[in-house]
């Protein structure tokens, strides 16, 4: 169920037990049918598990949307090298708060997903890289993993199957860029979390130089359910190209913000009006960011046409990303929020690539100047053209993420900028 609010529209596959602290206990998890999928996966064999996930059409839930089964099939067969499954629990995208809930309410679901994933790709060690700020979550996960070790669900000869898989919970230290899969691997290895050039891809050269697969928490949480019910079962929800359900993190100016598990393809306005109880105070909708701060902002007209799946969002000129829906009403100060987002990227940029290192800081400076009422219309042209120089020219896409809110807000909310530039007036309160 969603947390803290529930909705009848939800399809509760991975969020069934949100809010129920008993779910953290291994005994409760097993009583409710937990770790059966793991047994089944062992019986099926790794190739069959990969095929099941491929058949389900599950796409990576961390934002990239790459088909998970296909990603698993990239791992080499018979490489002779140790393989690593890494769970990306470094949730830092502004607007996103689903992985934290998944881990602190249903840690064993994730652990089972990691074990099945490791089994499928031939890995004997799964690392859960959980961001440093998540102290509570790290403790919950660590306790759950410990319980699982004690009862024989993790470690040597799991459940008498003869298979050995270890799980280690690794706590990060505060860097958004470590959520990028190659930055994560560098951070895991004890280095500065700088993204790597691809190729080579992680399936060839990953953590510690060995073949690795990195999957998001939500992706791995779905895996036990797919194995239990079969790939085709997952396709009954969602759309053909975006099958299944997704945890939507709704925040901002709605009455009932929180996580909701809904089938992909759900209309955005239905999410706001029916699931989230409508706009707060009945205010008019101004702007929505449907996929976390890295995707373009859409205005009210585009929101009315927006279907929440990977293709639907592209059709209205944005992206689904990690499905973190940030809703802004007529009182929102768009310029200030864009500036804050760019400040975030400037702070979190790793600094390797010059367009991002210099461009993110420069963009933030210009936006601050505009916010202070000392901007010019020429600045808007500079921003549009200069941020375009940041797209496609860097190792990772943090640079592109700076361009998205800046360019989309100048295109769609130009009047807000002009009010500040021409009259020094802020449009909106916060």
């Amino acid at each position: 169920m969603a947390y803290p609010y529930v909705s009848d529209h939800e399809v509760r596959i991975i969020s069934e037990h949100f809010g129920d602290p008993k779910q953290r206990r291994l005994e409760t998890y097993v009583e409710r049918g937990g770790y059966q999928a793991l047994r089944k996966a062992f019986d099926m064999g790794p190739e069959a598990v990969v095929e099941a996930v491929k058949a389900s059409g599950l796409r990576g839930r961390g934002g990239a949307g790459f088909p998970t089964g296909v990603k698993w099939s990239f791992m080499p067969k018979n490489s002779g090298k140790p393989h690593y499954l890494i769970c990306n629990a470094d949730e830092s995208e502004p607007g996103t708060f689903k992985d934290r809930e998944l881990m602190r309410w249903d840690p064993h679901q994730l652990i089972e997903g990691c074990l099945i994933g490791a089994w499928a790709i031939g890995s004997r060690h799964a690392y859960i890289y959980c961001r440093g700020e998540f102290f509570e979550t790290n403790q919950v996960l660590a306790r759950a993993v410990e319980d699982a070790y004690i009862k024989g669900y993790v470690g040597k000869d799991i459940l008498g199957s003869g298979n050995d898989i270890d799980v280690t919970v690794h706590q990060g230290a505060g860097a958004y860029i470590c959520g990028e899969e190659t930055g994560l691997m560098n951070s895991l290895e004890g280095k500065r979390g700088l993204p790597r050039v691809k190729p080579p891809f992680p399936a060839a050269v990953g953590a510690f130089g060995m073949p690795s697969t990195i999957n998001n928490v939500e992706t791995l949480a779905v895996v036990p359910h797919i194995v239990a019910h079969g790939g085709e079962w997952y396709r009954q929800y969602g759309t053909e190209k975006s099958p299944g359900t997704k945890l939507f993190c709704v925040s901002g100016h709605v009455n009932k913000p929180g996580n909701y598990e809904l089938p992909l393809g759900f209309p955005l306005m239905k999410l706001i009006d029916e699931v989230c109880g409508g706009m707060r105070r009945g205010n008019a909708l101004k702007a929505v960011i449907p996929g976390g701060s890295s995707v373009p902002i859409i205005d009210a007209e585009e929101s009315a046409r927006c279907r929440l799946d990977y293709e639907g969002c592209v059709e209205v000129g944005t992206m689904l990303g990690c499905a973190s829906v940030i809703v802004m009403d007529e009182t929102a100060d768009v310029v200030r929020q864009v500036r804050r987002m760019v400040d975030f990227y400037a702070h979190e940029s790793c600094g390797q690539c010059t367009p991002c290192r210099e461009g993110s800081a420069w963009t933030a400076q210009i936006l601050r100047r505009i916010e202070d009422g000392r901007g010019t219309e020429e600045d808007l042209d500079t921003l549009m053209q200069m941020t375009q120089q940041m797209v496609g020219t860097t190792i990772c896409v943090l640079s592109d993420s700076v361009a998205a809110p800046v360019q989309s807000s100048i295109q769609k909310f130009r009047d807000d900028y002009l009010a500040l530039i021409r009259r020094g007036e802020r449009v909106g309160a916060a």
């Binding site: 206990r25 509570e136 505060g174 925040s251």
Partner: protein, 217 residues
Amino acid sequence: MSDIPLRNPGWAGNTGDFDLTEAEVRGDDFVGERPKHGGHPSGAGTLPYMLAEKRPEAPLFEGEYRERLDKILTRYPTRQAALLPALALAQEIRGHVSPESMDRVAELLGLSPAYVRGVTTFYTMYNKRPVGRHLVQVCTNISCNLAGADEVVDAFLRYTDTELGEMSEDGNFTVIEAECLAACGFPTCVQINSRYYENVTPAEVPKICEHLKARGQ
């Protein structure tokens, strides 16, 4: 539909009961803070390393802390991979990561001190200089910003009588802005040392500050 009653998860939310422990707020069977020492090696790298108690002169990596580091080292194929947890351990002991701590960690893991400095300064959570007993980190990113996070920051600065990033005179508080803490549905989110406080508004700030000073947590 679950029969679990709807309860605002925020510590400083509608309940206003600041004497509740986190376990009481978050429900039964909350696993809470695991004991610092002991425990399975798989979780040895997860640490409560933002403590109120700072001991800047304490020895590094002796006794039970050395045991924890040794357990961490067994989980990775290289010594270097234990660098982040080792720095966190050093911070847990002393309250921040000083050049001397960097040197000691470098020595233990077979790395150069300059390299360790590079890694330490890359990550936000390692304090490069001493901070107050309570490090107040207020998220001011978009979702919390839309709910008035900037006013929460101002309220904290007023009630702790500090400048942003500076330690208060009594050494109790340092207030900083944080990047997204992933509690966007419960704005404004404030992290104080290891603990999340959700749904914080400027009205609750004085009570939180008093509560922290009194309970010494």
